[in-house]
């Protein structure tokens, strides 16, 4: 499993650097903007911008590793290695987990820089929730479908997965005050962890029944 995990990190290495530069650029851009406007950047805006960029970055890179695997016929090769089907699935979930955690930490750091030490606990939780937990939730939905049907046939699910947060935010737009944000923030890590674990077991079952292409 370690080898497969290492392979994914190698694959995103080059693109990761480019996208990381992009993230650094946005951080510097907002930092300069905040300094020039006499008041610290609005925490909600900063958290939103940094986390959104982080999530896009995570999505692009995670999906790229799946696409690379499929295009290079790696999946068939991986089945010839002494890792087992559960090992193949497990390596991908572990990659998503570690990468999301790393991006969460990076987003937190970026926000701390932007807010110039005025970061509240809620700001930190919001950044972590968006940049770390949301990729876990979205991958928890996406990966079982990928392991059942393959990435090529999963494009429509991808679109749906991206629509879910947009639909949710639209639905809650006029009722923001009534939403129990504190409770959601408190329980979301546990809910995301349960969903992610459940998704892993489901993917293992689905991949066990799927034949190599």
């Amino acid at each position: 499993m370690k080898g497969l995990l290492f392979k994914d990190f190698l694959l995103i290495r080059r693109q990761g650097k480019t996208l990381l530069y992009l993230l650094v650029f946005y951080v510097i851009f907002f930092f300069v903007l905040a300094r020039s406007s006499d008041k610290p950047a609005d925490s909600g805006t900063v958290a939103g911008v940094v986390s959104t960029i982080a999530v896009i970055l995570e999505y692009v890179l995670i999906l790229n590793t799946l696409a690379y695997d499929e295009n290079s016929k790696w999946n068939r090769y991986a089945l010839s290695l002494p890792v087992g089907r559960n090992g193949i699935v497990g390596a991908k979930y572990l990659f998503v987990l570690l990468f999301s955690a790393a991006m969460g930490a990076l987003s937190l750091l970026a926000e701390a820089v932007l807010l110039r030490g005025r970061m509240t606990g809620t700001d930190a939780a919001a950044v972590l929730g968006v940049s770390c937990l949301s990729p876990l939730v979205l991958c928890a939905v996406l990966l079982p479908v990928v392991y059942r049907f393959g990435l090529q046939k999963t494009r429509f699910v991808l679109a749906a997965v991206f629509l879910i947060p947009w639909l949710l935010s639209s639905a809650l737009k006029n009722h923001a005050a009534a939403v129990p944000w504190e409770m959601i923030l408190r329980f979301s890590p546990l809910a995301a962890a349960l969903l992610f674990a459940g998704s892993y077991f489901l993917s293992c079952r689905l991949y066990a029944g799927r034949e190599a292409e």
């Binding site: 370690k2 080898g3 497969l4 290492f6 392979k7 190698l10 694959l11 080059r14 690379y68 295009n71 290079s72 016929k73 790696w74 068939r76 090769y77 089945l79 010839s80 290695l81 002494p82 890792v83 087992g84 034949e211 190599a212």
Partner: protein
Amino acid sequence: MENLLEIRGLCRSYAGFSLEDVSFSLPAGSIMGLVGENGAGKTTTIRLILNELRREGGSVRIFGEDNIRGEIRAKEQIGVVFDECCFHGGLRAGDVGEILRRVFKTWDGALFGKYRREFELPEKKKISEYSRGMKMKLSIAAALAHRPRLLILDEATSGLDPVARSGILDILLDFIQDERRGVLFSSHITSDLERIADFVTYLHAGRVVFSRPKDDLLDRCGILRCGASQLGGLDKSGFVRFLRGPTECAALVEDKDAARKKYPGLVIDPASLDEIMLLYAKGEQP
């Protein structure tokens, strides 16, 4: 002699194709050529051996153990080369070594480096910049560097020029010098198999036509040639298959020496694997 691979009654069907009752064994110290036309079932057989596909009947034993029950243990000692290089083009040879070092317990980095230098594979060059021959050599180096006992190649020489193919065949001959090892080599390039195989298993339309020592096959079998007008008057009981042409006919005979005695006035040539395959695939049964 110990069998590295034993396949008995292997079955699998798809829409429009079925692999039926496939049986053969690969003894240690030998190269088994799995030969057959495109779509004969060679790749399906290999996929079933590797448990990439579910079998519907029969058994596959690798190193004496069922291939599903002992899958991980067996795969620690198997090297596999497919018809395409399965490493992403953005990776480099050095990356492949680093990945597989973390996969195989018995990975030998020094051996991988030795193969890499022997095959003239630049460590820092991207795989996407390699030629097809170099990619296949990288796949072979990756398959050999954990010192497997069984090497499985699925059409690994297809699409390569003769020089690159010859190089790969030399590697296989070198690999088999250790008699505890074996190679299962699927190909439709019969000249490759004639050069290196100890045994030949011929698959046609999902069934094993024969599985026997190559030397026995090529030494014994012959092709009888006669004019179209002569064919009708011949006793066809010694023919395995025969093919009618507009002017000339050819028949596959199991024992060419016996056939020379039986048909003294006719030409009987040694049979090549190509001709044997052609006659089995297109010929009539007597």
